[in-house]
């Protein structure tokens, strides 16, 4: 079970004239929970299928534990897959499904029985061993798929949106279980998902993909807090974005001075030495609201458009004088602040939380624009 390091070396896959995966490089260390995160069509599933051996790369190499497996068929790789739609064999019961691959590992009958039992216990499905897949719930089927792959003790387990077909509650439960399971078995998990919260919850590292390329790789916290560009910022949950012009480029020691509309702001995050047109990003939970008459640094005045009660927090939409609407997340603590619609406020954008991102219109995720709630900042029409 040791090992499980994967190296992707300039991996490329073209379907006809279309480039699905465009020169991906990545180092995945043994025992890591590594997520490929991106919207549909970004090439994450194609990458996974190349790792599994279902697609032949157009160029580039896949190295598994030091051995080049780029052109090996799926059955010759110590890699197993958990499919999005489980692909459990409907004519076999749970036990036979889990035992399916053991035939090729030349185990004795006793060993097969023992390992299948262990695998089913691992996913807490022991009592269900005699059932057919059709007699199980979606979550149970997913566990069988997991057991069927893990029983073979692969070096790397590939998971293709395994929770995608489940309801939200089941998904949250299984996320935690899956992470715990991965830590217990110590196998490298490569996890494909389009759900940012799923990736943030479970991963050791996340690779955010867009248009066949990896845009950013890092720990969940780093990717979330320090997105490399507007695309990543936007994709990893709601982020306030606004256009700005750099007035004085900053450095490591000095914040970058930018003009957002008529307002001058300081930003310490992101590419502080950028020049010209940039985009500013700030998470809703980092925006603080203050009374209109208070004197606040690094703030833009605005009017509260509406508020949405979310339970633990209140979402406040503020239309800024700079011409955009941003979203602020105010915790519903003891001194629950109330900001009725129409209240003039000052929205403080702390320099440490304000990030300067390179302005690359091509990288702007158009398909995300519609999906992001009204809180995300768009240039006013």
């Amino acid at each position: 079970m040791a090992g499980g390091t994967v190296t992707l070396n300039d991996l490329t896959k073209r379907f006809g004239s279309q480039c699905a995966v465009d020169g991906i490089c990545a180092e995945i260390t043994g025992g890591e929970f590594f997520s490929l995160l991106g919207p549909s069509g970004c090439g994450k599933t194609t990458t996974l299928r190349m790792l599994a051996g279902f697609e032949e790369p157009t160029s580039g190499a896949i190295v598994l534990d030091g051995a080049d497996v780029t052109h090996l068929p799926p059955n010759k790789r110590r890699v197993n897959t958990v499919f999005q739609h489980y692909a459990l064999f409907p004519f076999l019961d749970v036990r036979a499904n889990v035992a399916f691959g053991l035939r090729y590992q030349h185990c004795s009958k006793k060993e097969v029985s023992q390992r299948v039992g262990e695998a089913l216990d691992l996913v807490e499905l022991g009592p269900y061993h005699g059932r057919r897949p059709a007699q199980l719930s979606g979550g149970q089927q997913q566990r069988v798929a997991l057991a069927r792959a893990l029983v073979l003790r692969p070096s790397v387990l590939l998971l293709d949106e395994p929770l995608g077909a489940l309801d939200a509650r089941m998904r949250r439960t299984l996320q935690v279980e899956l992470k715990a399971l991965q830590e217990r078995v110590g196998i490298t998990f490569i996890y494909v998902t389009h759900d940012q919260s799923e990736a943030l919850t479970m991963s050791d590292r996340i690779a955010v993909m867009n248009r066949g390329r990896i845009v950013q790789v890092g720990r969940p916290r780093a990717v979330y807090d320090e997105p490399a560009d507007a695309y990543v910022a936007d994709f990893l949950g709601v982020s306030n974005l606004m256009d700005a012009v750099v007035r004085t480029p900053g450095s490591a020691a000095r914040p970058c001075a930018v003009m957002a509309g008529d307002f001058e702001l300081e930003a310490r995050g992101g590419v502080v030495d950028a020049t010209g047109l940039v985009r500013l990003a700030i998470r809703p939970e980092r925006v603080t609201l203050h009374g209109y008459r208070e004197s606040v640094a690094n703030a833009i005045p605005g009017l509260v458009e509406r508020t949405v009660f979310l339970g633990s927090a209140t979402q406040v939409m503020v239309h800024l004088a700079a011409g955009v609407t941003i979203q602020a997340l105010v915790a519903n603590g003891s001194e629950a602040a109330s900001w009725p619609a129409g209240t003039p406020v000052q929205a403080c954008l702390p320099p440490a939380a304000l990030r300067v991102l390179p302005c690359d219109p091509a990288a702007n995720p158009v398909e995300q624009a519609a999906a992001v709630p009204a809180g995300a900042v768009r240039p006013a029409p």
Binding site: P73, N75, A87, R132
Partner: protein, 312 residues
């Protein structure tokens, strides 16, 4: 409008009180002229068959006057019963022989054809699928005459008789397994096979351990359809028969029934009944086994069950 949409649920017996009440109202309103027409149609189409079956059990030799029940025309009569008249007896054997041979050869070829064309995925592949579909719309007579001319003019080393009948029936019946299995392949998709490969099976291993079991209901359905189809076939086997030895039941019934001959009329009725029962039993048994095979699938995944057979 509402009544029309509710009628199916009433027919399937859904135990919703309001709906079943509405369904009953609708039944009362149904015009009785339609019901009469349906009964008339059933009597018209089934009465001759019922009469033929009935008089095959007549103890006398009349086909119009009932003289008591007996199995005389099946086994009893030492000269004219199906069992003892060599021509009738031979016809049953010939029919079963052709049905078994054709099924055993046509179904595997059709299945392989379907898998091949499914993998191939090209313009040529869809052209071949079209050729298969063409066999469904081509009149059997045209096909039969074509084969007849081919065998009597060009391929003269193949004699008319069982061999010719067998070859033509195989060619004519390959479409069934090809179309049915291909339809099922399309609903199965590639992911089961990919899962098998992923778990360590070789390409052929995945076909054997995963694809064939998944295809089994479709293969079984093809077996039933081909077998029953050959039993019922008349045009091809008649055109390509050479002598009394190679005349199956349908041909005997036609020649002796239409043109008269040595056999007694009730014995022909008995032969026809044997043929009918063979077909019905084959299809009924096939349907029952098919329902059993796909029981688990139908509950959850309608996509996997095969429309033509379960859809009724």
């Amino acid at each position: 409008m509402t009544g029309g949409s509710l009628a199916p649920s009433a027919a399937t017996g859904v135990a919703l009180p309001g709906i079943s009440r509405l369904g009953r109202i609708r039944r009362l309103r149904r015009p009785s002229i339609l019901r009469g027409f349906v009964w008339l149609y059933l009597v018209w189409s089934l009465a001759p068959v019922a009469l033929a079956i009935l008089f095959s059990f007549n103890s006398g030799s009349s086909v119009t006057e009932w003289q008591g029940f007996s199995l005389r025309w099946y086994v009893g009569d030492p000269y004219y019963s199906v069992l003892h008249d060599p021509a009738l007896h031979q016809a049953v054997i010939q029919t079963v022989r052709l049905a078994v041979l054709t099924t055993v050869v046509a179904v595997p070829i059709g299945v392989l054809f379907a898998i091949g064309v499914h993998r191939w995925r090209s313009r040529q592949a869809s052209a071949w699928t079209f050729v298969m579909l063409l066999a469904f719309v081509m009149p059997e007579l045209i096909f039969g005459v074509g084969i007849f001319l081919l065998l009597t003019n060009l391929l003269t080393f193949i004699r008319l008789g069982t061999t010719a009948q067998f070859l033509a029936l195989v060619a004519w019946n390959i479409s069934w397994p090809a179309i049915i299995v291909r339809a099922r392949l399309q609903s199965i998709g590639a992911h089961y096979e990919e899962a098998a490969r992923d778990l360590g099976a070789s390409a052929t291993g995945a076909i054997r351990r995963v694809l064939l079991p998944l295809l089994f209901p479709a293969i079984f359905a093809s077996v039933v359809l081909v077998f029953a189809g050959v039993i019922d076939d008349f045009v091809i086997v008649d055109l390509l028969s050479s002598n009394a030895q190679s005349e199956p039941m349908s041909v005997i019934i036609y020649t002796l029934g239409a043109h008269g001959g040595s056999a007694a009329a009730p014995a022909l009725n008995a032969l026809a009944t044997v043929m009918l029962v063979m077909s019905i039993v084959t299809v009924a048994a096939g349907w029952a086994v098919y329902r059993r095979l796909t029981r688990g699938e139908r509950r959850r995944d309608e996509g996997l069950s095969l429309g033509p057979l379960t859809g009724a």
